[in-house]
Symmetry: C2
Subunit: 261 residues, 2 copies
């Protein structure tokens, strides 16, 4: 549960708790018992039971009496946001064309606070998956899309971010020094793309470019990610940057033309 | 707001109301004022304000002081469900291959009560969009995927459904007679696919096939939809049924093989 200090007097705690119950379910925990939910949320069993039964009555949760799981209706909560964005729909065919060309997965994300949130993804077909889907969040500082988006923020926003962000080492390569990250972001802003070499996860390299909206401001980022076995960062830049930049350009053109609006 | 009669004594009304506030936002209404939210939900302005401010504090809603909009974090609610399904991820590459081959949009959906819910979609690239995305719901009786899923239900479930469903005419072709729908569903069960010819929307034809899980039961449906300009139902059956059935078979094979598990 989030900290409950400093909440406004009008804060509706029941809503916070009910949303925490929904979030208790995930890919690793699609089915939970009452005890599981109580444990995951920090609620008493009695409280967890009330929220679960309310969600059952509203059609968001299924139960066989013992195990609880989310029902498809839950999608209407997140998808109100997604369907209000034209970006994923506009980007999708261009992302598919890129994946068909380079045989690496392609994603589009937006910045939300200090994190990137995936809003579209076209995985390449592999036996092994990396477990990323629309809605996945990563800390912006350690990802190529995050750095493209951070590099486009106003100077005072970035000052606040660098002063406050906890830059944890996710691998032994992660840049964790704010001053060094600022230098990296300046270079990204100047060159128009970012490469991240195994700073989020060992063995994973990623290349990202900005997507600009009508008024020229960066609204999202598009990337391709590749296993280290594909080659060095330089190989990836040489092979994948031109098609990635062309994809970003096509998405921007369609956004300007109002395709799918 | 749903009916508030017959709620269990433990029902948490604040959670229902908070979720209604989230659902007030959609593709047509991505930005709402306090008054808009109060009107859409039936809440008083004071109540709507408390829920909106709570959602702002939790990071799910953004406000400039007057207009409210959903933030990307809202995706974590619906995507907990989606990421718990392996089906969309397994189906996606096969759906993409089908769309590349036939140049029509492909979707996968599951049954939720009397409605189909889209869990994966690969649109074809066209200037005109039909505004369907993951999370979109349609009444099962008027759609090809819905009929495939209804046809696979146990007899007593289907009896209850046909006795209780309100079969509204969505176009002048929609089958609205329960006895006639039962006959249609029997044929679909026997032949292994469904064609719906402009019963959901004028000018739209759709062809669907079942996707079976490990134990042989139908867990989802996959379809292709085509504008009437593509040709008659017979043309669509001849041109699109073989690749659609092949796609369903490939998805089933990957599900059995545990790809992406």
């Amino acid at each position: 549960m989030p900290e409950e200090t400093a909440r406004s007097p009008e804060f509706v705690q029941s809503l916070e708790r009910g949303l925490a119950v929904i979030r208790a379910f995930d890919a690793e925990h699609p089915q939970l018992t009452l005890s599981d939910v109580a444990r995951a949320t920090g609620l008493t069993r009695a409280a967890a039971r009330r929220f679960l039964l309310t969600l059952v009555e509203l059609g968001y949760v299924h139960t066989d009496g013992r195990l609880f799981s989310l029902r498809p209706r839950i999608l209407e909560l997140g998808y109100a946001y997604l369907s209000s964005l034209s970006l994923p729909e506009v980007a999708q065919p261009h992302m598919e064309a890129l994946v068909a060309q380079v045989h690496e997965s392609c994603s589009v994300s937006v910045l939300d606070g200090g994190e990137v949130v995936y809003v579209a993804r076209v995985p390449t077909k592999r036996i092994m998956t990396v477990g990323i889907s629309v809605g996945t969040r990563f800390p912006a500082y350690a990802t190529s899309m995050g750095r493209v988006l951070l590099a486009a923020q106003p100077a005072d926003w970035l000052d606040d971010y660098l002063a406050g962000a906890e830059l944890r080492p996710l691998t032994r390569r992660t840049v964790t020094d704010p001053a060094k990250l600022r230098t990296v972001l300046r270079r990204i802003a100047a060159q128009g793309y970012a490469i991240v070499d195994q700073e989020l996860e060992e063995g994973l390299r990623s290349l990202a470019a900005p997507i600009r909206g009508d008024n020229g401001s960066v609204i999202a980022a598009v990337n391709v990610s590749a296993h280290a076995s594909r080659g060095s960062s330089e190989t990836i830049r040489r092979e994948l940057l031109p098609p990635l930049l062309a994809t970003a350009e096509r998405i921007e053109q369609d956004l300007r033309a109002g395709v799918n609006r």
